[in-house]
Symmetry: C2
Subunit: 282 residues, 2 copies
């Protein structure tokens, strides 16, 4: 197991990428906020299969956090992250400082308008603009041939896909299935916030979405009825339900009857901890 | 004089660029809206000195026109443009259709916030967002090593420079001096709209800015006094003065006393035709 090269400065990262490209090698890129879990590791493994070189970024991006969100306490574990990344053959970790990503005078934002609306977009104003902007920057710095994202952040993946299409960014986007704990809870860095009691209750999120999928497989096609089936399981276990909604899988447009590929998405609170999950319905 | 290859489709344009890059050659890019004049030709000549291959785009971008602006009547002359471009060794002209640049569902915009404010940004809401977005797209499609812009559109050049810096776009931006007619009028495709009488009056724009520069060279450092000197010459000749302002040259921030590099910028109307110009003061 060889070490992961750590690069701090954007210009140095670009020079690395330029040298790789000049050798005719392909770069696969996995952007993260660190606190890597098995889900991230699966993305890095997938990246390995798409390219000669795998680049990881670890950057807790302040512009995608709201004023009352968990930026300050977001889990950080660089040493652990690098060990996990090395285990699956990651070549380089880009770990920039906030001041190097957003120097004084920075003022450009990328807005992906419709797909960013509703769901997490409404609950976290500015979140997806922050995500789109930083991912656009990371693509500019690392210039990957392919970038790997988890489907757990389903709306985020839709935003990135739309941005890449609309801005003609020369990168292929690959989405990977959500990794889950034994009981079904979607892996997330934010699971680390949960108390044992909260952790036990958290599984109801996946169970609720699965209940909706069972109804769908049984022939139910009304979005309202499917959401009701999910809420029936979810509501009693959480302190607050942020949303449970069914959307078209590609456009994320609202849907009443499920006559094309759809996805059921949910966000819930356990104390101050916000969890999201989704399951495809088709 | 060899012919310019005309490419209509974005995917085909990207394939051209990819092949050039794989040969290790450099691409210089000049984005235009067509109706090429000697100013554009000077940009293409400059491009020639920066790279192995010169790409020109001709695209009257609808998203940078306001609802009451001259999109429909904007001058178009593809045959003439290609002849002029061929004369200075342009390799390829990217001439896309609107529907290929903005297919159904397109929804992503790039906003360069502060630099887009004031001056033309206030008078043409959405204009610089349209410019930034289409240039970002063109960079993604053509993937140039260097892109050449005229200083005549000074605020546009500042917006592009800021966007490239903020989004870490891997392209070098080069600004080229404004080309002028014998009497000093800045070359512009919109000069074609002017009647002989309007054409005669138009020169007062450059004369007014030059008058301000003379005062500056004479030691005047008050922005207000310099603007007054320009307006004294400009106001009598035009149907309406949109703005005459002095700004810091890099940030485009307003300035009262000229103790660092500045620029005087103006926009005026002759009938429905809007002309802009600027001169550096330092």
């Amino acid at each position: 197991m060889s070490n992961v090269e750590v690069i701090r400065h954007p210009a140095e990262m670009s020079a690395w990428a330029e040298a790789v490209r000049e050798r005719g090698e392909r770069i696969a890129f996995v952007p993260t906020m660190g606190a890597l879990h098995a889900g991230h590791v699966s993305l890095l493994s997938a990246a390995r299969e798409h390219a000669d070189r795998v680049a990881l970024s670890i950057f807790v991006n302040p512009t995608q956090f709201g004023p009352n969100e968990d930026l300050a306490r977001y889990p950080r574990d660089l040493v652990g992250d690098l060990t996990k990344a090395a285990g699956v053959g990651t070549d380089v970790a880009f770990v920039p400082e906030v001041a190097d990503m957003y120097p004084p005078g920075a003022q450009t934002v990328v807005e992906v308008r419709e797909v960013s609306k509703g769901l997490c977009g409404d609950r976290r104003p500015g979140h997806f603009s922050g995500v789109a902007t930083v991912v656009c920057k990371l693509f500019g710095i690392i210039r990957p041939h392919v970038a790997i994202f988890g489907e757990k952040d389903f709306q985020q993946l839709a935003v990135i896909r739309r941005m890449v299409l609309d801005l003609d960014l020369p990168v292929e986007i690959v989405g990977c299935p959500t990794l889950r704990e034994q009981d079904g809870l979607a892996m997330s860095s934010r699971n680390a916030y949960l108390s044992p009691d909260e952790r036990a209750r958290a599984v109801a999120l996946f169970r609720g979405l699965s209940a909706a999928r069972e109804c769908f497989r049984g022939g139910e096609r009304s979005a309202l009825a499917l959401v009701e089936a999910a809420l029936h399981v979810i509501t009693p276990s959480f302190d607050r339900v942020d949303y449970v909604e069914i959307r078209e899988a590609d456009s994320l447009l609202p849907v009443q009857r499920l006559d094309k590929p759809a996805v059921i998405l949910a966000a819930v609170f356990l104390g101050a901890t916000r969890l999201i999950d989704n399951i495809r319905l088709f």
